[in-house]
């Protein structure tokens, strides 16, 4: 009886317009691609049909290559992300809240703001080489920027009324920073951290495309050189899935941290 009820809600969830139309939309893209692959005269090595891509996926999974490459990428992006985001949140919060820290840090933040992290790649390679540290540094830089900009903006937007209330209640400046400014800026921190996931991922793939012995970026680049377009597409899809997974982790932890907020949630 209970399982019946549960399958009923599952069915209702699957039949929700957002899920239904969204799935159809994705299937439409796959269908269009399939039509393109089946066009007469198309080389299946260059434009593999979906079944061939699925076969390549299974092959990569069986050989263990996919797992090795995915975990190499994941490790890099997580290390780079943690370093970049922590540094950015600390410095951004200081710059946005304490006047003199702002005087020191704002010019630096505003100077790096328009520079894409990928522009640092040649410099990082020349200075540090093409090893693992370089790849992580590029990810750190890519994650740092959106996090620091958002953290600072969040601290600038703290409502004066909460600050006044805390001060009249006897809170020290440091306590106002820690217990009023930081919590009320958390929605901004989360926004920066979510953007950081996508920019970090972008930098990861770029860094791995250049020179890497492993990783999803290496995998798609390597497969492309051998005209294994099917493997390249598998790599691209896995990159997409991994990125979506990390974004979910970021947004879910963000939601847990801002459960108190009555701001409308994204669907």
């Amino acid at each position: 009886m209970e399982s019946f009820a549960r399958s009923g809600t599952l069915l209702r969830r699957v039949l929700r317009p957002s899920v239904l139309v969204g799935t159809l939309s994705l299937l439409g893209v796959v269908g269009l691609y399939w039509l393109m692959a089946l066009r007469p005269g198309t080389n299946p090595a260059l434009v593999p049909a979906p079944p061939q891509i699925v076969a390549a996926f299974i092959e990569e999974l069986r050989s263990g290559d996919l797992l090795v490459n995915a975990s190499a990428s994941l490790q890099r992006v997580v290390i780079g992300y943690v370093i970049g985001a922590s540094l950015a949140l600390i410095l951004g919060a200081m710059a946005g809240w304490f006047k003199y820290w702002g005087y020191v840090l704002n010019p630096i933040i505003d100077a790096i703001r328009p520079i894409p992290a990928l522009a640092y790649i040649p410099l990082v390679i020349v200075w540090i080489g093409i090893g693992e540290p370089s790849r992580i540094i590029i990810i750190v830089l890519a994650v740092f920027k959106p996090c620091v900009v958002n953290a600072r903006a969040g601290m600038n937007e703290v409502a004066q009324i909460y600050v006044d209330a805390a001060r009249t209640l006897g809170a020290s400046k440091w306590r106002v920073f820690a217990t009023v400014a930081i919590p009320s800026a958390i929605p901004y921190f989360i926004a920066g951290m979510r953007t950081g996931v996508s920019t970090g991922f972008l930098a990861l793939v770029a860094a791995e495309l250049i020179a890497a012995p492993s990783g999803l970026g290496f995998m798609i680049q390597n497969a492309g050189q051998y005209f294994r377009t099917d493997v390249t597409i598998v790599g691209i899809i896995v990159i997409g899935l991994l990125g979506a997974l990390l974004d979910q982790v970021a947004s879910r932890s963000g939601r847990a941290l801002t459960a108190w907020s009555d701001v409308r949630r994204e669907p």
Partner: protein
């Protein structure tokens, strides 16, 4: 008129204001606007004082200066006869806007002041229990503000201010955003708190009924620039309950206050400077 009513010697007032003048620049105008001019005021210990005046008369500015949230251009604020500089942590402030921290539960909001002062945990828990009960929120101690109505959030605000054991409470039109019925209930809650704690309250309002229902003394401000027009003693007996609102005495007191407010309004605006 205000000078005549001020006690000449005697112990210092709980809260005093001396020669308070405040100007600020508006836009890029070269002549600053005088918001308050030469305000002298004494608030006696234990009194419930309302400050009324038409909007823009500087009543909120005056209250913020008493708290030290704003520094006057001239003049100073005395607390027990001692001049105060900067924010006076011995006073509690209840704002017009919703100032309850949305990221803290009701209990954590109420203990915020005591925690800021380093009150030990056991004592803080006692304060939370006591003040949540005093405002009727014992069952909501673990709720977040977003789960509460506007009136309940104001109760949290009051409990938070009282839990910090302030010497004087300053309230800046705290119930202006509430509906009439909730407002009436909150006014009774404030009176109950005042009667049980005997703490001095300075309450800014633009609502005559509110001022008559709550106050011992009403300070009527004239505007442009803001200055004390008159100080009206409220003859209404205590303790007061909801029924007093429809009594003849209430109507008479309200009429007297209304006349004072009208007279203040008819005072010509004076040049800034």
């Amino acid at each position: 008129m205000s000078a005549a009513l001020r006690p000449v010697s005697a112990p210092p007032a709980k809260l005093g204001v001396r020669g308070l003048t405040h100007r600020f620049a508006i836009g890029d105008s070269s002549t600053p606007l005088t918001v308050l001019r030469d305000v002298d005021l004494d608030i006696a210990r234990g009194q419930f004082v309302c400050i009324i005046g038409e909007s823009g008369c500087g009543k909120s500015t005056l209250l913020r200066m008493m708290a030290g949230l704003l520094t006057p251009t001239q003049g100073h604020v005395l607390h027990d006869g001692v001049p105060v500089r900067g924010i006076n942590h011995a006073l509690g402030f209840v704002f017009q806007q919703d100032a309850v921290f949305p990221w803290l539960t009701v209990a954590r909001n109420v203990e915020y002041g005591p925690k800021s002062r380093g009150v030990p945990k056991a004592e803080r828990e006692r304060l939370v229990a006591h003040w949540c009960a005093s405002v009727g929120l014992s069952d909501f101690r673990n709720a977040y503000p977003k789960q509460l109505s506007g009136g309940m959030r104001k109760r949290v605000d009051l409990a938070r201010a009282y839990a910090n054991s302030p010497d004087v409470l300053l309230m800046d039109e705290p119930f202006a955003a509430l509906d009439v019925q909730t407002k009436g209930i909150m006014q009774e809650a404030v009176l109950a708190l005042w009667e049980s704690t005997q703490k001095t309250v300075v309450f800014v309002s633009h609502d005559l009924d509110e001022a008559v229902f709550l106050s011992d003394v009403v300070v009527v401000l004239a505007s442009r620039p803001g200055r004390v027009h008159s100080i009206v003693q409220n003859p209404l007996a205590r303790p007061r309950n909801e029924a007093i609102r429809v009594s003849d005495a209430f109507a008479a007191a309200k009429r007297e206050l209304w006349s004072a407010l009208q007279a203040a309004r008819q005072l010509p605006a004076e040049n800034s400077g």
